[in-house]
Structures are given as structure tokens and as C-alpha cells.
Amino acid sequence: MSEIGVRLSGIGGQGVVLASIILGRAASVYDNLYAVQTQTYGSDMRGGDVCTEIIVSEKEIVYPIVNTPDILIAIAQKAFDQHITDLKEGGILITDKDLVNVGNLTKNVNHYSEEFNKKAIDDFNEKRVSNMIMLGFVVEKTKLITYEALEKAIADLLSPRIFDLNKKAIDFGMKLASTN
């Protein structure tokens, strides 16, 4: 695997940073890959712009920033509008179908979308697992990391009390991706 740059963007409270930390941990601790995760955010706790980047590679990563992502995940309209120009030609775009209107997508990209937020509310009665549904979807579509590594990383980072719920959400996201 050569270097793959991923940018996850949304608004504060949607859990994109946690999703990227899980990805990075799974890759670097359990899949024996190199990973670097960075983040930028405004001063707001909720509602501010959040953008986090992660690079996954078989070789050591020198330059830690993703200027032109191979994969862009946007789960808020503002995030999509802001970052779509940076996405590489031929790259992968993943959006929340319900929250992002991609309009006339002129760029040559592979676009997948799913209702992460709506499905979290409808199927789990818990809006907060939308990031896990998204993460499962992303992993299934991109094969960035293995399922085993993902499972171990979640176990490390989440308390046992909420582990099962989040794992179910991830499995649900993966299933959506395989049938989407």
C-alpha cells in the first residue's frame, strides 16, 4: 500500500475526530502500518468546523499533512463545500446522503453516500453512533484497515459499556457498504 491520505470533515459533535483516531490506532498498532493523524478545529465545542486527516502507509510517513486527499469524507454540507476542491481526481468521496447535497459533481470521483445520521436515529435510536456507521462504511469501501484491527482499536478506545452498541453500528455500516 502506498501512502493514502484521508480527510474526514464535519462539524463539532459528529465524532469525526474519534473515527480518525480509531482508524489510526487500528492501522499503526494492529495492522503494522504507519499512520499519522492530525486535526484542526475552531474554538467551539459543538457546531464549529472540524477537519481531521489521516495518512496510512506501509512506509514511514515523512510529510504529515494531507493537502490533496485520496479519500474525502464529508458529513456536513459546509464540510463538503469547503473540501471538495482538494479531493484528488479519481479519488473516493463519501458523504452523508441526508445532510450533504453534492449538487452537480463535475469532478471525476467515485462517490458513495449513505444516510449515516438518519440511520443512527432510525435503527439505533442513538444519533451518536452515526460516526461508527460511517466508519464501518468507510472501512468496507476502502479496505484501509482490517476488521480485526478495527475491532481491537474500538475495544481500546471505548468503554466496555458502549462497546457492543458501537460495534453493532460499525457492522451495520459495513453491511450498508457491501449492499450499496
Binding site: G24, S28, Y34, Q37, Y63, P64
Partner: protein, 383 residues
């Protein structure tokens, strides 16, 4: 004594957490600090970890108290640390001078952010390079290390403690908000494989005029509460610590011995990372996070057959004057890349002494990491 440090383990950690774990591994037993973006995670993590290693954590009322606390704790015989950002360092300056003058080993972590004043808390700039060296009044030397990754936040914090103990001086870890918040793999060494320095301690009372200061080879340090009477003051003093503020010779001796204690050991202190320098026509000098953009640039340039190398001081202070002078005799041009408007540039230019051309190249947008292309463009211009 309990030591819960993780050993021989790989983790995916934020730079700030790696710094805190490095401190624990180095044997830090006292942390005092006041939360500030982008350094808060260090205090937050240590507020739990310190108690697991029989240490002390204090959230002080402000940064002035934090630095005073760690100076006092160090005289109490333990390794101590504080962590803050530029605004906090501004408040600490008076007691940083006190730590220098009283030859107090301690570690000060500065996770730099946008400045001046409150600036921009979560933007990464290398704006406090000169502040670390010249922030407190008078002639003095300081040691500062600039990490570029979470692994280096871990390693350099340990190194900072070692240098502080060896030379009885405050040591800066000069990070920035991107390195502090970046997550990457961190490998923990086995505790028994670590080489840790401990200060020379004064074990027996040798009378009130015992020599406990101003030795270029570092004087032994008494510990508070052990019955070893000692005078400790920020005012000009003699080797025994007795205050004298009227005799210029005593003042002269105090200033020179303090600075020579660092300068005479520059070779032991200074560390440089060179990459592809041997046949380079252009050298790019950078430090901290910026060096990662430079290494990427060198990689691209070399693929295109351009003879470029990277020269990265790990030790920003004391400034590696001789090393830069040697470099200036080997290359045609030195480009200085730093995420500020050129703080180390005058020092590089002066050390290069017209042996080669020296150019300052701040990033196009301050507070962002250089695009390799913008450095490459400059290289092509000068080559």
C-alpha cells in the same frame, strides 16, 4: 516505589500524551501547571498519571505559580516539569530567570501557538524561538529541543530531563500545536534500557561556605529538608550562594560561570540531524515540525537530480554556531525554513559569515506547514 510506566510497548498517541508519558519514564515526580490550548492534554494526562507513580500534580492558580512550584519542587530533590504555551511562558519569564540563576534543573514544555498575545490557540507557529532564549532579563544560556513527532515528544522530554539534571538548568521542549495534537506510533523502551541522568547531590554538610553554585563542571546541589544549610538567591552570589550585589567581580563571575557551564559543554548538548548533506549544493536548515516538510522536499528534489540536503538542529539552543559555520563552507546556499518571520535566520547568517548565501524562506501562509513545492521553487531559483 510504584512505577506504572508502560514498557516495551507500541501505542498510537497524541504528541502531548507522549510528552507526559516521557516525563513519567524519565522519573518526573512533580508537575505543576495551568491549562492552556494547545498544551492542556499534558496537564490533564498527568493529573491522573502522577498519582499512579507516587508523584505530585498541582493545578496552580496561574503560570507564575506553576514555574515557582517546579523550581521549589526541584530544590526538594525531585524531577519537576511544567507545560504551557507562549502566553504562559510570557508570565513565567521572571522565574525562568530565577531557575537559571539558582541553577535549578527543571523541564518547561512550550507547545507553541499563534501569537503575539492570545493569538490563535490552535494554530501551529514556531513563534517563541527567541522568547525561549531571551525572554528573561540578562545574559544567560538555555537549552531547547524541538520535536517533530509524538515519538520525539516522548524521547526529547526524557532527553530534556537528562540535560536538566546533568547541567542543573531549565530545559525547554519547544513543540507546537500540530506536533502536540498529532497522533502517531510511539514505541516505549524498556525501563532498564533507558539511560537516565541524575543530578550531583550534596550529601554531607561542609559548612555554610560549601561550594554549591557557579562551577563550570556543575556544582553539587543540596536538597531542602536534609539539614544541609544553604543560601539560595536570584541575586548575584558567590559559589557558596551568599548574596553580593556590590562587587562587579562577583557579578562578572556569576554571569560568566553560568553561561560557560552550558557553552563549554556545547558538544555534549548539541545534536544535529543531517540528511543528504554530503554532496549537497543547497542545504535547508529547519527545526521541529518544519523539518518534515523539508525532508519531503529533499526526497522530491533528489528524485529530480537536484543536490539538496536537510540540516536540522534538534537543539535549537544553545545555537549550533560551529556546526552551521562548517555547513556554510560545504554548500553554496543555506535556505532557512521556519514557521515564523525568520527568528533563527540572523543567527544562521552570522554563523555562516559570508562563506555562503543565506536566505530566509517563511511559509507562504504563516501557521501552515510548507508545501514541498514552495521550498522546491526557491531551491530552483538559487541553484
Amino acid at each position: 516505589m510504584i512505577n506504572n510506566s508502560k514498557t516495551n510497548k507500541t501505542d498510537f498517541l497524541q504528541g502531548n500524551i507522549a510528552c507526559a508519558e516521557g516525563a513519567i519514564m524519565a522519573g518526573c515526580k512533580f508537575f505543576a501547571g495551568y491549562p492552556i490550548t494547545p498544551a492542556s492534554e499534558i496537564a490533564h494526562h498527568l493529573s491522573k498519571r502522577m498519582f499512579e507513580v507516587d508523584g505530585t500534580f498541582i493545578q496552580t492558580e496561574d503560570e507564575i505559580a506553576a514555574i515557582a512550584n517546579i523550581v521549589g519542587a526541584s530544590w526538594g530533590g525531585v524531577k519537576s516539569m511544567t507545560a504551557t504555551s507562549g502566553p504562559g511562558i510570557s508570565l513565567m519569564q521572571e522565574n525562568i530567570g530565577l531557575a537559571v540563576a539558582t541553577e535549578t534543573p527543571c523541564v518547561i514544555v512550550n507547545v507553541q501557538r499563534g501569537a503575539p498575545s492570545t493569538g490563535s490557540p490552535s494554530v501551529h507557529l514556531q513563534g517563541d524561538i527567541l522568547q525561549s532564549k531571551f525572554g528573561s532579563q540578562g545574559d544567560y544560556q538555555i537549552i531547547a529541543l524541538a520535536p517533530a513527532s509524538p515519538q520525539e515528544m516522548f524521547d526529547f522530554t526524557i532527553k530534556a530531563f537528562n540535560l536538566a539534571e546533568q547541567f542543573r538548568t531549565p530545559v525547554f521542549v519547544l513543540s507546537d500545536s500540530l506536533v502536540g495534537h498529532m497522533r502517531e506510533r510511539v514505541n516505549f523502551p524498556l525501563q532498564e534500557e533507558l539511560i537516565l541522568s541524575e543530578r550531583k547531590k550534596l550529601e554531607h554538610y561542609q559548612g555554610i561556605h560549601q561550594k554549591i553554585f557557579l562551577d563550570e563542571e556543575v556544582a553539587p546541589m543540596p536538597v531542602f529538608g536534609k539539614g544541609l544549610k544553604a543560601n539560595i538567591t536570584g541575586s548575584t552570589h558567590k559559589e557558596d550562594g551568599f548574596r553580593n550585589v556590590s562587587d562587579p567581580k562577583i557579578m562578572d563571575n556569576a554571569i560568566k560561570k553560568l553561561t560557560n557551564k552550558i557553552l563549554k559543554h556545547k558538544e555534549e548538548i548539541i545534536e544535529i540531524n543531517e540528511h543528504e548533506i554530503d554532496d549537497a549544493e543547497v542545504a535547508i536548515l529547519s527545526y521541529g515540525l518544519t523539518s518534515r516538510a523539508v525532508l519531503e522536499t529533499v526526497k522530491i528534489a533528489r528524485k529530480n537530480g537536484i543536490k539538496v540536503g536537510s540540516f536540522r538542529p534538534i537543539t535549537v539552543w544553545p545555537f549550533p554556531e560551529e556546526e552551521v559555520e562548517k555547513l556554510s563552507r560545504r554548500v553554496k546556499t543555506i535556505i532557512v525554513c521556519e514557521n515564523n518571520l525568520g527568528q533563527l535566520f540572523p543567527f544562521v547568517k552570522s554563523a555562516a559569515c559570508e562563506h555562503c548565501k543565506v536566505i530566509s524562506l517563511p511559509p507562504k501562509v504563516l501557521g501552515t506547514l510548507y508545501y514541498p513545492e514552495e521550498i522546491l521553487e526557491k531551491i530552483k531559483e538559487v541553484i
